[in-house]
Symmetry: C2
């Protein structure tokens, strides 16, 4: 093996190990850290971030990459090629941007989050607007440095969903709008809406937790290589495929949100635990993108756990956990209650039918801000107009509107599309699984998730970063991303639930 | 402020923050980490250790220290002087030793621990002997590098208890032997031994935990800046005075060990939470030595919590937690049961009277190994002979003898004396507290620990590293370390308990 390549791997593994340390700190901060430690922890994180930045911009890494780039790609196998390519991408992202801009973005990210928190508390968009304006200026400059040939918003999307551009997204999102807006209207017009009353009440938290652990373990989470804890917002963290940590939060008045958060995070966790770390702690063995990660969580949450076979298998166990509430409820009624569709203001609480419209709205705003067709000061008005157009409701305050998400406060433009790309990937993957393994739904009904997990492991998790998302989708499903599968899934499912013709 | 000094503080704080990260990893590994993650975690720790070593041996740090050393000490206040002095000490420890020796010691430490574990499992000292021999050779070489003018064992002691030498320890330990051996014999000869039967039984773990948390909080542990969890061996860890984490372990057949482990670790924790971190995250604000740290844990465990006033205050609460066992027990009987004296094989299970002899035995063996008057191969025999001389019992196996402690397997020679130095410091501090605040025992009886904690905060915790241990003892108590206080404490207390003349 080439000496420069060995040197590269050594440097990349050191970066990966230090990133693992950073992840452990992040998990600890959300789950374990005493409240009084936040100032000390910020300093520790900053010291480690400094070391990581130093390693990622190490001129010796640059020299090593230049040597390797000059060899023909043919000299390397797929994994080696991928490592070199990914390391170059990351090195260039870190070094193409002037230090001053990097620092200003980091400072604004930290400051901006605090300003967003306060603006949201006080329902005052005007306080937040200057942060947004400054971020747009800096993010355009940043895009010009890293990808001068691209449109600035495309460069931002690429950070989260590489190889994906407005040219790919816009027609797909337009199609979703065109189909979903009238479909949601039709659902709302139905006189008969599912009964969800039995999902409210008092649900002992120990019972919720033990049910969640059982289901997470059943679908394949390896608790020898992971943990499950409590945090304010559910997330999947950890430091390595052998150390994957999911969280949820419990309310004693409701159990579905918490249980489905565990299933969602278990989907992320199975991806992490399934990564090909036998290749080493190198970029090729990392998870691919935000969108692909979200496809894995939504696969389990929406495609599996909101489906009839899953409900059929688990209803007895769920009823046994909460007999007072579910004694007189049928599997079918439970399934319908899980799958209601109703426009609402808050993205993170939206159902699978209305969710894409929340995303499309944000996508169109981000695109408009970057191409100059929208102005920051007009956002509350634009937001509310689009909400009315797309979902037929107008937020009574900016807290329930333009101020609801944390993303913009930390400068994460281009992130939102990943959620709906993930939902569409998940659906297209599920359709392919049904084609590859036609007995899948029978197996799920029988509580056997192993063939499904094995298929995801093989087709997606163990591919690491060998392919860009659009290539992976093509390889796994035999076609490029096609919103028809997602639309047809939603239309079949919700026509049945709501008794539409 | 001098520019070099500012640069020094910046570098020292970075090192401190990265050390805080390392501590969090260590805590996580013992308390939270999934079992499957140990290999990945070892790599993460190794990467971070590499960064720390790089920072601690940074030639720019050396240059900075050389500049500062050349200024007269008068130019600086006590804190600045201490930071410069401590940084020099640490820089020289890190850089005076050839890299190859550092690496060999690190490898042997890691390997040696594993070999010790196996040798102990199989009760086979011969398997462990080569590790000990190699360590002795390397540790002598190491001592020659760091302190060529000192005796090699003194250089090793200095690592844990700076400024303390065999010349100081030997006469004190000889005095302890001379007094304690006949005293323990006299205790064993008494026909009447305290009843401890009511300390065995079934004690619900939730009750043990809630009692332990209450007492830890009462004596002053700040749970806003700390946590309490479970681990295999109790310890006090954490990353900063605002993030101090203690652990214990529970058995449902016994509650005293667990409760007193919490009190012991709370003593360490109060020291950590009381450190003067307003001075910055710099060496002057660190805890002083192992011995002084142990003085703080033993102060609370032995001097306070094994005393009559503490038992008087808490007996009602303890009886309320475990009414079935303690219904017919008096405070006096409880106090006597807590304070039994009986020779036993295992150091960590020993009572406060026999404990020093376990330490003196180890001290004499280490001294003999370093000065060549003892040979590794003879250790099992020497150990057993000394056990018989000092405690009148002979271990039936090396597992209960020479193989019981982990220290030598990782090369920690010179550590053991700290335990008994700590016990003597604790006693001398307690005597001084009684002189400074004569109502201390009344306050404790009334459950008011604040004046005691405040005294320790002021006299010890907030002194950081300004003074060497022998200087601190002199400043706090008005005399140098004097074993009479410790001996008189033990003799008075145990004469009373055992009804000796």
């Amino acid at each position: 093996m080439n000496q420069h390549y060995q040197q590269l791997v050594q440097k990349l593994e050191e970066i990966s190990h230090l990133n693992g340390v950073m992840s452990t700190l992040g998990w600890d901060q959300e789950v374990m850290m005493p409240v009084g430690a936040s100032e000390a922890r910020a300093k520790q994180i900053s010291a480690l971030a400094g070391v990581l930045h130093e390693r990622m911009t190490d001129p010796a890494l640059g020299d090593c990459l230049r040597e390797l780039r000059e060899k023909t790609a043919d000299a390397w196998g797929a994994i080696e090629q991928c490592n070199i390519h990914e390391a170059l991408r990351s090195y260039e992202l870190e070094t193409k941007v002037p230090k001053q801009l990097v620092q200003e973005l980091a400072e604004l990210g930290s400051l901006g989050h605090g300003i967003w928190v306060t603006a949201r508390q006080e329902n005052c968009f005007a306080d937040f607007a200057p942060v947004l304006k400054r971020f747009l200026t800096l993010k355009k400059e940043w895009a010009h440095c890293v990808a001068p040939e691209s449109q600035p918003y495309d460069a931002n999307i690429d950070l989260f969903e590489r190889g994906t551009t407005m040219a790919m997204i816009t027609p797909i999102f337009d199609r979703l709008k065109q189909e979903l807006i009238p479909f949601i209207n039709a659902i709302q017009d139905q006189a008969h809406q599912p009964d969800t009353s039995f999902l409210q009440g008092h649900f002992a938290i120990e019972r919720q937790e033990s049910l969640a652990r059982k289901i997470s373990r059943d679908i394949g989470f390896d608790f020898e290589k992971g943990r499950m804890d409590v945090s304010v917002h559910p997330f999947c963290g950890g430091s390595h495929p052998t150390d994957v940590r999911i969280t949820t939060r419990y309310k004693d008045t409701h159990f579905i949100d918490s249980l489905y958060a565990v299933i969602h995070e278990t989907g992320h966790a199975l991806y992490e635990q399934g990564r090909p770390y036998a290749w080493g702690d190198v970029p090729a063995a990392e998870s691919l993108t935000m969108g692909i990660h979200e496809s894995q969580s939504l696969f389990w949450e929406r495609m599996i756990a909101q489906g009839k076979p899953f409900c059929t298998h688990y209803f007895a166990a769920i009823r046994e956990a909460f007999p007072d509430h579910l004694r007189n409820v049928t599997i079918d009624a439970f399934y319908r209650a899980l799958n209601t569709c109703k426009p609402s203001f808050i993205r993170v609480e939206a159902d699978e039918v209305t969710y894409p419209l929340h995303i499309i709205l944000r996508y169109e705003i981000e695109r408009g801000l970057f191409d100059g067709t929208m102005q920051v000061d007009e956002l509350p008005q634009i937001w509310n107009e689009l909400m009315q157009q797309y979902l037929g409701i107008i937020p009574p305050s900016d807290v329930l509107g333009v101020l609801q998400d944390s993303h913009w406060g930390s400068g994460a433009f281009g992130y939102f599309p990943s959620y709906t790309l993930g939902a569409m990937y998940a659906c297209q993957f599920y359709k392919t699984l049904l084609r590859d393994q036609p007995d899948t739904e029978d197996q799920i009904t029988a509580g056997n998730f192993a063939p499904t997990k094995a298929w995801l492991n093989e087709k997606i998790h163990r591919q690491g970063r060998l392919y860009a998302p659009h290539e992976l989708v093509q390889r796994v499903t035999g076609e490029s991303l096609n919103p028809d599968h997602f639309l047809s899934h939603l239309q079949h499912k919700y026509r049945d639930i709501y008794g539409l013709g």
